[in-house]
């Protein structure tokens, strides 16, 4: 358990409420933008950008990643590298023209 006092926690509680309002607003914004019928490329970029913003808020404040120990960051950096490989490597199949 972290060594935070009750005063610090009360400050956290205010942050949680603000983050909730931001997440709620971003949810409505992403739904509203999806009705604008942007081109698929623009729609994907905007939707993923908003989802990344929301995800960062959850990870930073609810999961306290904004002030975490180094070992957690190291584990997550390694995870991010593997996740990127997991998503990008299969896409190379589209450039594989052997036999075509």
């Amino acid at each position: 358990m972290s060594s935070e006092g009750a005063g610090d926690i009360k400050k956290h509680v205010r942050t949680y409420v603000v983050v909730f309002i931001a997440l709620f607003a971003l949810t409505l914004i992403t739904v509203a933008i999806s009705t604008l019928h942007l081109g698929i490329a623009a729609a994907v970029v905007v939707a993923l950008l908003i989802a990344t913003m929301k995800g960062s808020l959850v990870a930073s404040y609810f999961m306290h990643l904004i002030s975490e120990k180094k070992v957690v960051y190291l584990a997550l950096i390694l995870t991010a590298v593997f996740l990127l490989a997991l998503i990008l490597l299969p896409l190379t199949a589209f450039y594989d023209r052997i036999g075509k």
Binding site: T27, L28, S34, A75, T79, P90
Partner: protein
């Protein structure tokens, strides 16, 4: 034998063991959902045509479910904050709300699935539906898992608060990390399945 470092931080990591444990578990969960997202992307860009999610799925219901899950993340973190402030009564309130919101999410999801089945829309119908049911089904199983663990913390598990309050607070904290991760996955599932 006593389980080591349940309360105090292990000097090598600066964390109590369960916290490092849950982060490593969540890293493996990123790979699990990442593999499915990767398959989704590959199937989608390789398909000659792909339906627009909002034409098949119920966007208002999914928006409601997004708000429910976000709210449950707030009540989850508030249940931990309540324990940090030594307010067990408030912990019980916020934990009950978290479980209730989790159940509400499942009811809405069940309603959504039910409507799909009524219209003859099953995973075997199309690649889009197979992807939709696989991703939301696996996510739903994670919600069920979280509800079970949270219910244990609220019921018999809470006896630990009397004897080892710090250890109990840590248990709630790591469960919260898992619950927020489940919320985080939904934050990406919602736009990629329903809105694009």
């Amino acid at each position: 034998m006593q389980i080591p470092y349940t309360v105090t931080a292990r000097p090598e990591t600066g964390l109590y063991n369960a916290k490092l444990g849950i982060w490593l578990f969540l890293a493996s969960e990123v790979m699990l959902f990442g593999a499915l997202f990767s398959s989704y992307i590959l199937l989608r860009i390789g398909a000659p045509q792909w339906p627009h999610g909002r034409e098949i799925l119920n966007v208002p219901l999914a928006t409601l479910n997004t708000v429910i899950l976000i709210a449950s993340s707030v009540t989850m973190v508030m249940s931990w904050a309540s324990l940090m402030m030594k307010r067990f009564d408030r912990f019980r309130l916020f934990m009950s709300l978290t479980i209730l919101l989790g159940l509400m999410f499942l009811v809405v999801k069940g309603f959504e699935y039910g409507t799909k089945f009524e219209h003859g829309l099953f995973p075997s119908q199309s690649t889009f539906l197979a992807v939709y049911f696989t991703l939301t089904g696996l996510h739903g199983l994670h919600v069920i898992g979280g509800i079970i663990v949270n219910s244990y913390h609220l019921a018999s598990g809470s006896k630990m608060w009397g004897k080892e309050p710090e250890r109990f607070t840590n248990r709630v904290e790591v469960t919260g990390l898992y619950w927020h991760f489940v919320d985080l996955v939904w934050i990406f599932l919602f736009p990629t399945l329903y809105l694009l």
